[in-house]
Symmetry: C2
Subunit: 216 residues, 2 copies
Amino acid sequence: MTPSATPAYRRLSVEERRSQLLDAALGLFAHRAPEDVSLDDVAEAAGVSRPLVYRYFPGGKQQLYEAALRSAAEELRQCFDEPREGPLLPRLSRALDRYLAFVDEHDTGFSALLQGGSVVETSRTTAIVDGVRRSAAEHIHQHLGVTDPGPRLRMTVRMWITAVEAASLIWLDEDKQPPVEELRDWLVEQFLAVLTVTAGRDPQTAALVTALSADG
Amino acid sequence: MTPSATPAYRRLSVEERRSQLLDAALGLFAHRAPEDVSLDDVAEAAGVSRPLVYRYFPGGKQQLYEAALRSAAEELRQCFDEPREGPLLPRLSRALDRYLAFVDEHDTGFSALLQGGSVVETSRTTAIVDGVRRSAAEHIHQHLGVTDPGPRLRMTVRMWITAVEAASLIWLDEDKQPPVEELRDWLVEQFLAVLTVTAGRDPQTAALVTALSADG
């Protein structure tokens, strides 16, 4: 209990307080493994008492973690939000720039979340992460101008998204090398390369690759 | 308790019995989600009593699951065991054939394991899976004849391995379509394509791609 923080209690609305606690939690979960974050840490970071944290999140750390994860997922979804204008590969580059900045800012939490086996991992957290992956795939299909992607195109896009996740984890693990701009360009080139491979097996993808080459 | 199974107790050595229980567990975990397998199921599949299963695996289902996973991991490692003779891409094809046959045979368990959020997932199960990934990467480096892979080559190989995992999960999800031979050839083509992209940024990989083209 931090007595000096008490007066501040009254000043925030329920929604503001909740959002303040979530921000504090997200800040902690971004840079520490979930097992290294306690409710006391969250209370301290937000300048409130532990009972107050419990009043907002009666499910304790697990509930806070999931709420923070949902808020991070929303932030990630916004990274993919790119106007559907101009050549496609530069759009992908810009979305990747925002995504990689997110990875950079949430390094430890991002690794803990995706490396699995975490104490806070449940079917709910997995569903949140899968929702982000699905959203990324839908964005890509929309930018490709495809309303009904066939199985080969869908598989290619999902494989590339997984490869991007793997690259992000390795990048964090290797002290953020290569430089982020190189990583971004490399991932865009891989996208085009795997689409081109699939084009040899799938007319829908072949038409896209032809359109992409004329796009530049 | 199955009284008719009792006489069989005496005939097996400790090692044989343990291995029989593990086989029974692996058979169940391969085709059901871990939460749908009980110790009673394992006892019944092995034709023994539940107390006997507990005598061998006092840690209960979690211990059995981890032991079954270790044995599956060993089986997977053997899939990658390919003589270092002849052109490289056909070697990769043969290893993928064995790997995809494993995925086919352990479908539900493979999905449950890799999709995360499972009740039996712990840092130990994650470490076992990561061990298999590392082993796959080492095999690929050895076949490429590289003793000291640089960061760009390592990242490319790990990204491709992750993409293969993703493809396997999607393939199971899509009722094992496309046919396994097509999936295998497609994955080999992707391997060459992503190596070729990296070759533009990394002299070590460029030398490998040149050697691979002359390899035929």
